[in-house]
Amino acid sequence: MKRIATIFFLLVLVMSLSLPTMASVPGELLIWSDGERAPVLAGVAKEFVIEYGITVRIQELPFGDIRDNLAIVAPTGEGPDIIVGAHDWLGQLITDGLIEPIELADESAFLQSGLDAFTWGGKYYGIPYAIEAIGLIYNKDLAGDEGPETFEELIELGKELREEGKYALVMPQPDPYHTFPFFSILGGYVFGLDADGVLDPLDVGLANDGAVEGFEFFEYLLDERILARATPYDTMMSLFQNGNAAGMITGPWAFGDVRSAGINYGFKQIPSYQGQYGRPFLGAQGFMVSSFSENKMLANLFLNEFVATKDTMLAIYEGDPRPTAFLPAADIINEDPDMRGVMESAAEGIPMPAIPAMNAVWTAWSDALELVINEQSAPRPAIENAVQLIIQTIKDSGY
């Protein structure tokens, strides 16, 4: 018994230590990529080996896990050289000291808004490959071929549809990211700019008059049953897929689900209200270099010469269609009407603030939305209380 126990113990030890430790080692590159980008990068890696004889290994992780795992693993020296990620991780990754500035060989090859999203303190921290923004996905059978241009039209449509138990609009709730256009439509913002044009974390504009008016308009849509109440993402999606909703506010990631349900759909920017368009958050995805990489210069070289190329960027697009941030590939990609729609929506977009103070915003904001959606509070006190908490948290954390 004892012997069996000892042998078992030894086996466990040996196995746990001899697992291939995927770590950044000098002279080899390790990339953490999500499943969509991994096959493309694997192809690029092959070219790199042929050209320079330097191995590039790809480790596949779920997109959302990359940031959290980097924080845990990189400081112990086990992390990657390059990661795939979203621009709104920048704040956390930089305050944690986990990513390095990147030297771009050719800035002019990138869409300015994509670069802006990855800029921090005047330095680039990522090479963008895609940008995205939410918009209105509409069901052509319910909302017409052109779709509603204004919220006023949408309300008219909604009053007809609600007689049949259908909705003019669905969106994920409570979800600050998707609800931001209602705040921005009449002049709300998350962080204002200070005199130097830098985001000022203590100037939170989510409870200014425009924001509150927009939020009240959001409540009005719920009360009038134009907008379905309290639908999480999957409920929203099934309402739209079953033809029970004319429009859905969400982003390009939903195209696949909508197409598979056989909905005849179109994508356009979020409708206007009182003549002004709701401005969504602009997001970008890109490649970043770890601070704990043993091959920072090599990683830069790999990204500049092998990833920032038309072929690679087109392959990334083929694997997971999103509007590209790489201009030489843009002409081909923007022929797709969906992509063109997202680009138009993104043109109205405001880069989602990537400063660490943004962490303090999400929870409080989401709670305020939830209180209004659940009819437990009027919009003004809910959002004013939230902003007070946000500022309090930001002051306490000393951002």
């Binding site: 050209e51 305050t95 944690d96 986990l98 309290a230 601070s291 210069m297 070289l301 989401s366 709670d367």
Partner: protein, 503 residues
């Protein structure tokens, strides 16, 4: 023979210890290293000393208890007095190394194109050329200006010039090169095509434990996990530092945190009590029904009623989440069709709690039913016969025979079920995620949050990003509370004593 095997195993074990020890040393995990060393020493003693024989069986258990129970507790206590969380995840040495490795590109510095040569000893010689055609030779950190027809150039011709492929392959070597440009600036690699003039931004003064900014001479001293200048400007990233009782002060000194904490605590108790009470009552009721020998198809009913227990709780919880959906859920659709109104199951604080209790009842009653069935069968039939002879009604039989005898074996399980539900994170998190939110709470706290889910949200969803320090201090408070509750529970129910007496 037996001895040989024994020594062989010990040898292998020691080799393994050594291997792990080296691994730990190289990753600077000194605390675990010391633990391992102690463990290895003990293992050898127990194996070799005849007196240690009985401990051979005890030692592995003790080892795993230290590793899996004692060490996490000690570590949690340690984390609770640090600022470990977003912005402070690195160690101080790592932050110093990172800040020292920051170089500023001189604003109008010139880029130097370069060619690299390798001499017979493998050393690199770098020939730099600026835009005016001026040439510098870099070797071992020193720069030399070159004349038109410098003899050094001829020497270079004898060395092997690196091709582009060689350069790429030698990137790490090249980027490690630094040449003194003037007394403050260095020539360093900018990219694969050029070198440029850089200034090291900060240098660390080990004696005074301070960072000095090269350009301005500003001194940054470590304060509360950050390097900070006299005006209070902080350098990022910050590092892990011991901040004493700061986290506890945040927890108890701020009414926007204590308020939710007390509410969460009260609901946790209610939740655990309700869960045990509802599942037990329903389980007992069904058990009594199924225990009736005159019931037909008992086995079929029993199998069917155990089903909810057999389905993984995760799946059940997610299905129930769908059923409770306000807009599309089956429950609301039925309510709408029958009584004409629907219930905001997951939006209203009270209904969300009701939904949770219903879900937990579904998940938990088969367990209670099984243990009650077992306990009922162990009560002798002669007791009931005697009661019938004495003219006791069924209620009296139940009240005076079934319940007391049942409690003997079931009470400890009820206590443990209480403790389990006290920390039943998965049901809460899968159904409501602690929502709906409590108005005005400064930490993420909801009406259906129990202490453990509240801690989780503090650690991973708080305004600061990740906040392990505060979460650890909450964990310690929870530990004290659950410890006290369990203690009194056992004390007053006398549960453990009865088990010893009767089983």
């Amino acid at each position: 023979m037996g001895k040989m095997i024994k020594y062989m195993i010990l040898g292998i074990l020691n080799v393994a210890f050594l291997w792990v020890a080296l691994f730990l040393l190289s990753s600077q995990a000194y605390f675990v290293f010391v633990l391992l060393l102690l463990g290895a020493l003990l293992a050898n003693l127990v194996f070799l000393a005849p007196k240690g024989y009985p401990y051979r069986y005890l030692l592995p258990a003790a080892f795993f208890m230290v590793v899996m129970v004692v060490y996490p507790i000690v570590y949690t206590v340690y984390i609770s007095v640090t600022n470990y969380g977003t912005g402070n995840i690195l160690h101080k040495e790592q932050v110093i190394a990172q800040l020292e490795d920051r170089y500023v590109l001189e604003p109008d510095a010139e880029d130097y194109a370069f060619q690299a040569y390798r001499d017979d000893r493998g050393d690199l010689w770098l020939l730099f050329t600026d835009s005016r055609g001026e040439r510098l030779l870099g070797y071992r950190g020193q720069l030399t200006s070159l004349q038109e027809q410098d003899p050094l150039l001829e020497q270079l011709a004898d060395f092997a010039e690196l091709t582009r492929v060689d350069l790429v392959r030698a990137t790490n070597e090249l980027s490690g090169q630094s040449f003194a440009y003037d007394h403050t600036h260095e020539l360093r690699m900018r990219n694969i095509n050029s070198f440029s003039v850089y200034l090291q931004q900060y240098s660390y003064d080990r004696e005074n434990d301070a960072l000095i900014e090269s350009e301005t001479g500003t001194i940054y001293t470590p304060v509360g996990g950050y390097f900070q200048d006299p005006d209070g400007t902080r350098l990022t990233p910050g590092f892990r530092a011991v901040v004493g009782i700061n986290n506890f002060r945040r927890l108890f000194g701020n009414p926007q945190i204590t308020g939710p904490f007390v509410r969460v605590f009260i609901w946790t108790i209610q939740w655990a009590l309700l869960s045990v009470a509802t599942t037990f009552v329903v389980g007992l009721f069904l058990a009594i029904l199924l225990n009736d020998p005159y019931l037909r198809l008992r086995k079929v009913y029993r199998s069917l009623l155990i089903l909810p227990y057999a389905i993984p709780a995760f799946i059940s919880a997610l299905i129930w989440r769908g059923l409770f959906n306000t807009e599309l859920g089956v429950i609301n659709q039925i309510l709408q069709a029958t009584i004409g109104s629907s219930v905001p199951w997951l939006q209203d604080p009270l209904w969300a709690k009701v939904a949770l209790v219903i879900l937990n009842l579904w998940l938990g009653f088969p367990y209670m039913m099984i243990i009650c069935l077992g306990a009922l069968q162990s009560i002798g039939a002669e007791m009931y016969e005697a009661a019938v002879v004495d003219g006791a009604s069924s209620w009296q039989q139940f009240r005076h025979i079934t319940v007391p005898l049942l409690m003997v074996s079931v009470a400890p399980l009820l206590v443990s079920s209480f403790a389990f539900n006290f920390n039943n994170f998965s049901v809460i998190y899968l159904l409501t995620r602690g929502r709906p939110p409590i108005v005005g709470a400064q930490t993420p706290a909801g009406h259906t949050d129990i202490l453990i889910s509240y801690t989780y949200r503090l650690a991973f969803e708080s305004g600061r990003g990740i906040d392990y320090g505060l979460a650890s201090s909450v964990t310690l408070v929870i530990f004290l509370i659950t410890g006290a509750i369990t203690f009194f529970n056992f004390r007053f129910t006398g549960a453990l004593e009865d088990v010893n007496k009767n089983v």
